[in-house]
Symmetry: C2
């Protein structure tokens, strides 16, 4: 018999149906026993006997055929009665973590060591449904704006962005590196498609062991040409974030999870970096926003504009990546921006330099060797329009939206200083 | 003035507009000169003077403001007259490849060495538009079938699938490896979501220097649980391939490129491996299909069913990966299949083993050490449903659909034995 999902049961009252999934929980009472079956759509209650359930165990995969029977006190108003239960998997022995408890009260190392099991806990599902939804929203928004999806190589011959924190590789007997970002490739591809995005892994050999660092993460990158300045990039980013959050809100499990998902205003309030310092009561000589300053900016946005989001633009050029476009005639400021969400930086972006000579002078001023960049910089001799872009770290974005403190909790199999399995 | 795209010009006859893009070509006649401007939507003809154009060069980025004037002989029936031309990029000096010629008659090394430039050639655009479209079709089909998009790590602690052809990495002082596929992760995640897909890089340190091998490629992976056998996987793959091709056909540049894109029949004809050998006139003792056999199978599909696609199922277990499910009671055959497109293998898949003991006995029979697999195999003690899946190599898929002989031509920045730049 064709399997149906537990969420479809209510439409089949009185019928004989087959469902299949994991034994989420067994409840053995004196005269009756309940099997709670979990499938990708939710849960189903199966009425059976203790004798039948005793031989089974939680997480065993079963197929159950029975009659759909209305019962007001059953979850979803229906249950399966008169069941035939068939085991589809190996039988499951003692588990290191009990999934049937309402919340997973385990330490982070246990959570991660047993990821194949702990990822199954129903409380974690909305996090990963949200994760998939925001990727969908990222894509559909950019597809609608004329962007082309691209893929740039993750194995690169030269360590460009920052010489140190890069993973080194034996590439057929030569040295190669794992890409820290698709930055220079996406700029190159603006020269081809004008507007590009990429969803792909980025690798950072940072020895930082914090709640916000991963050695491997998914970067949602976008880059667009023919801009006037960073404001054009910020407008696209606003639409992208709005599209990501709208897609998340449309997922039932996410809507039901009680996350405090924000509204994205049509116009996100913008502060110049120098104004942000004033609002934060910081010295005008500060070269970057400290966490306390970002919090003050966040409070300002909420107080003055009722917005969870604030753009800060104009960060001093020297504190940003070498490809950042300065604000002409307004040293030391640049055309870089951050999107601050509830007082914490969420996304960074900028207008980039698009002239060869500007790259040469910037790299030289910063004391960098031109050598490693030379082949990339050639593209700026080939006719590059003014352009800019942004990168969203997927795991950080999901953690911030859902209020999860450690990004490892929204990563399937995180990689960090200490962890390269499972 | 707000920029419009060249494709929008015809809607603005008589108006003053601004367009922007690359100087694709200059045509200087005695009394008049034409600037052909290229943007992401196509081409626009600008009527100007030789004096104005002499100072410019191909691939320079310009912004042009002028009047849209109907002209039957102009491309698209309109041209821009009375233009003001403003240069937005650095001026472009002599180029190593001329993009204005109808086709790029350069060697493959030149094509790839100068990828930032050669990718701009208009003849290549449909290939990469198709590439982006088939990814879109892959996703939307699987989203519609209840699959969840996931990301598995590309840095792995153990070299599982085949010990040799794997890239080794210095991971914070330890040895790690680049993932050859997300195979065991996607199986693990079937235990969480039942149906998952992943779009991500896969890495093979194969020293093969052929037209079909890359050291890094994009793998479109899908895996689903609660199947009866491989036929359920084949049905999903049929819908996925149909969705990918439909999405490609809907793109104007692809439709206009003259690719011979196939129809995907509602039911793809299926041959058992043993029948395929007969049709190919091969010995029944053959353990795999040679290229000539696949061609014969392709001819059979076209002749008997009018189909460009044929499924072959039942490949001998020992010729397939260790996780392949054998066909019970029908040794030496398995529940593996290939999708043959016009006589060449396009996609591989199978039902997988889902019981711990089966993995142990298979690996042992094959003389493999259990050690590297142990942490992965633990998942089969946690309750795994019968499951299967497939992987589509994006670049091979695009090359096959478009009839391109070398997959490097449909890869932005290919990586192979000899090439790790640009």
């Amino acid at each position: 018999m064709q399997r149906i999902l537990s969420a479809e049961l209510a439409r089949h009252v009185g019928e004989q149906v087959t469902i299949a999934g994991w034994i989420h929980r067994r409840r053995m009472l004196k005269s009756v026993a309940f099997l709670i079956l979990r499938d990708r759509s939710g849960f189903a209650q199966v009425v059976t006997t203790s004798a039948e359930l005793e031989a089974l165990s939680e997480e065993t995969v079963v197929r159950v055929t029975g009659t759909v029977t209305a019962n007001e006190v059953a979850p979803g108003g229906v249950e399966l009665t008169g069941p035939t239960i068939e085991v589809l998997s190996d039988e499951v022995e003692a588990l290191p973590v009990e999934l049937f408890r309402p919340s997973l009260t385990v330490t982070l190392p246990t959570l991660l060591d047993h990821a194949p099991l702990t990822l199954r806990h129903p409380a974690r599902r909305p996090l990963f449904d949200l994760r998939a939804a925001v990727i969908r929203g990222f894509r559909s928004t950019l597809d609608g704006l004329g962007f082309t999806e691209v893929h740039s190589p993750k194995i690169v011959g030269i360590a460009t962005e920052s010489g140190s924190n890069v993973f080194e590789l034996d590439y057929f007997g030569r040295k190669a590196y794992l890409a820290q970002s698709p930055q220079l490739y996406k700029q190159t591809l603006v020269g081809v498609f004008e507007r590009v995005y990429e969803i792909g892994q980025a690798f950072r050999a940072e020895p930082s062991d914090t709640a916000r660092h991963l050695a491997e993460y998914v970067s949602l990158d976008a880059e667009l040409g023919f801009i006037e300045n960073q404001r054009d990039v910020m407008a696209v980013l606003r639409d992208v974030v709005a599209g990501m959050i709208a897609e998340a809100k449309a997922v039932p499990s996410v809507a039901g999870a009680g996350f405090d998902l924000p509204e994205v205003p049509a116009e996100i309030p913008i502060l110049h970096f120098s104004e942000a310092l004033k609002i934060a009561g910081a010295s005008p000589d500060e070269e970057d926003l400290a966490p306390a300053h970002e919090r003050a900016v966040g409070e300002w946005g909420l107080r003055e504009h009722g917005s969870d989001f604030v753009y800060v633009e104009g960060y001093p050029t020297l504190k940003r990546a070498f490809y950042t476009h300065p604000e002409p005639g307004r040293e030391p400021y640049s055309r870089a921006f951050d999107l601050i969400f509830r007082g914490i930086e969420m996304v960074s972006g900028s207008q980039r330099l698009h002239r060869y000579a500007d790259y040469v002078s910037t790299l030289t001023e910063r004391g960098a060797q031109l050598g490693p960049y030379e082949s990339f910089l050639e593209v700026f001799k080939l006719g590059m329009p003014p352009h800019g872009g942004f990168a969203i770290g997927l795991e950080r974005f999901v953690a911030q939206l859902t209020g999860i403190a450690n990004i490892r909790e929204v990563t399937y199999f995180p990689r960090d200083l200490h962890r390269v399995t499972p």
